[in-house]
């Protein structure tokens, strides 16, 4: 009983995040945006460092930097001679490098780097939960409302545009939803593992789903299972929480892959 009480807030935040992770993760898998998620996550280090330096709110700063990185990518893609993953590589590692430099010059250094990299969901507080709830529910709702357009655009941007979908607008919507969700989810599994929380449930759901919307719903469900059982396992065996969640998710993926033969 004590355990459940202790874990209720972390679990709640994980389940809330799953609502957004299902649809967004599926879209990331279909559109091959895993590296984009990583880049946004890496930029969070810069966000945290800036928050320390400027004495600003952590979540807000991380969110702003994440949006900034999404915007920079969009600018860099314009008439670029490189593939998007090269540009992402440049952005991602620059954000990491600048983040570490800002860290080193910041007078206030009371941040657990391990917590930042791998998450500290057990230390989550009510203010963070409210942030997570707001962002996750908003992202899940927006994705649901614009689902048809987002899926059609994923099939073919030309086709979607010819049928009146504002492709640029929706690309922006998707990028900023992913950026903000990633930034918000960092306390849960940390910078290095956040993309896993989006990608692995969706990849697992592929083996059970017959339609795009099924895949999003099943992914959200699998993500919740991973968080709930990962947290119980982490506390029970005294393991780090974020990594345990990811290992549980990967087990789900492996089992699904072995037992399911989808069309």
């Amino acid at each position: 009983m004590e355990l459940i009480k202790f874990l209720s807030l972390p679990m709640l935040s994980g389940v809330l995040l799953s609502l957004a992770a299902g649809p967004l993760g599926s879209l990331m898998v279909w559109r091959r945006m895993a590296y984009f998620g990583d880049t946004v996550a890496h930029s969070a280090l810069l966000g945290v460092a800036l928050a320390l330096l400027l004495n600003a709110d952590n979540t807000l700063m991380v969110g702003l930097v994440a949006l900034g990185v999404a915007g920079l990518l969009w600018l860099a893609e314009y008439k670029a001679l490189m593939a998007t993953d090269t540009l992402l590589g440049i952005l991602s590692h620059t954000a990491l490098a600048v983040g570490m430099i800002v860290f080193s010059i910041s007078p206030n250094q009371q941040v657990s780097l391990t917590g930042l990299l791998f998450g500290d969901i057990l230390l989550i507080d009510t203010a963070q939960i409210i942030w997570i709830a707001t962002v996750a529910i908003t992202a899940a709702l927006l994705a649901t409302i614009r689902w048809r357009a987002l899926v059609l655009m994923t099939l073919s941007e030309d086709l979607a545009a010819a049928e009146g979908v504002g492709v640029k607008r929706h690309r922006w919507l998707l990028a900023s939803m992913i950026a903000i969700t990633v930034a918000t989810a960092i306390p849960v599994v940390g910078i290095l593992l956040i993309t896993a929380l989006l990608i692995i449930p969706a990849a697992t759901a592929r083996y059970w789903a017959n339609t795009p919307s099924q895949m999003a719903i099943i992914a959200a469900f699998i993500c919740s299972i991973g968080v709930v059982f990962g947290l119980i396992g982490a506390v029970w065996f005294n393991l780090p929480s974020g990594p345990t969640v990811v290992v549980i998710l990967t087990s789900c993926y492996t089992v699904s892959r072995l037992i399911r033969r989808p069309a």
Binding site: W30, L155, L159, A162, A209
Partner: protein, 249 residues
């Protein structure tokens, strides 16, 4: 009724390259227009500008307020990570009449197949079915004959012709395969960055010399050869009735 699409003096420049050069074109209700030209002539780009997918560098496009487009793009690649059957893809356009249209396009046996497993020709027919389910008044087909054998192409164009009458819609077909489309098209526009000629095949077809020229498989190569290398003559004087083939470009 007004034109569905009317474009005036469209130009498109990418970097140093002139893709489209002062093109004026219109598509009227219930007509089949075929856009022909060699590879790299800017056919797909012109269609994308007409549909509003890319903005022209200069010039204007007017689209009729009632315009409803059914577009079949040239490229359509679905990632295998997307779980989607053909039936689901079609149902996203409309749930009414899927089976009838599937039978019409001989894709009934494909309805339960995942979209990513379709071959090129199958994909074309599925996308055409999807476009038709939207009940468009303009059907736009970008190289519909790609990946389809000659027999299939004849059937395809016969079908396009029937559909135009049944649905009362216009059809814009892009093709580099001139001779097959000639019989069932109202107007042919030959594009090689600029409009080098356009004309009404109905007039043209009564000309025995022209029919002889285009009625055979070999005529296609000849027609395209002239496009590539010789704008002084055009295909035939009768087709170049708008003065586009006088070699002044």
């Amino acid at each position: 009724m007004q034109s569905l699409i009317a474009a005036d003096q469209l130009s498109l420049t990418l970097g140093q390259t002139n893709i489209l050069d002062r093109i004026s074109i219109s598509i009227e209700p219930n007509e089949i227009v075929t856009l022909v030209g060699p590879n790299g002539a800017g056919k797909s780009s012109l269609v994308k500008v007409l549909l509003g997918l890319i903005s022209p560098s200069s010039g204007e496009v007017h689209r009729h307020p009632s315009l409803k487009i059914g577009y079949v793009p040239q490229h359509f690649n679905v990632d295998p990570s997307m779980p989607m059957s053909v039936r689901y893809l079609l149902s996203q356009a409309s749930n009414d009449g899927i089976d009838a249209i599937a039978e019409r396009l001989t894709i009934s046996h494909l309805l339960d197949r995942p979209v990513y497993r379709l071959s090129g020709g199958e994909k074309q027919r599925v996308l055409m079915a999807r476009a038709l389910l939207l009940k468009p008044n303009l059907l736009v087909l970008d190289e519909p004959a790609q990946g389809v054998d000659v027999g299939g192409q004849v059937e395809l164009y016969a079908l396009i012709n029937q559909l135009r009458d049944e649905l009362d819609c216009s059809v814009l077909v892009i093709s580099h395969d001139l001779h097959l489309v000639m019989a069932s098209t109202d107007r042919v526009i030959c594009l090689n960055h600029h409009i080098c000629c356009h004309g009404l095949p109905t007039d043209v077809q009564s000309d025995p010399a022209y029919k002889a020229l285009l009625g055979e498989r070999g005529a296609q190569a000849l027609a395209l050869y002239q496009h590539h290398h010789d704008h002084h003559h055009g295909i035939d004087g009768d087709v170049c009735n708008d003065g586009g083939c006088d070699g002044t470009h």
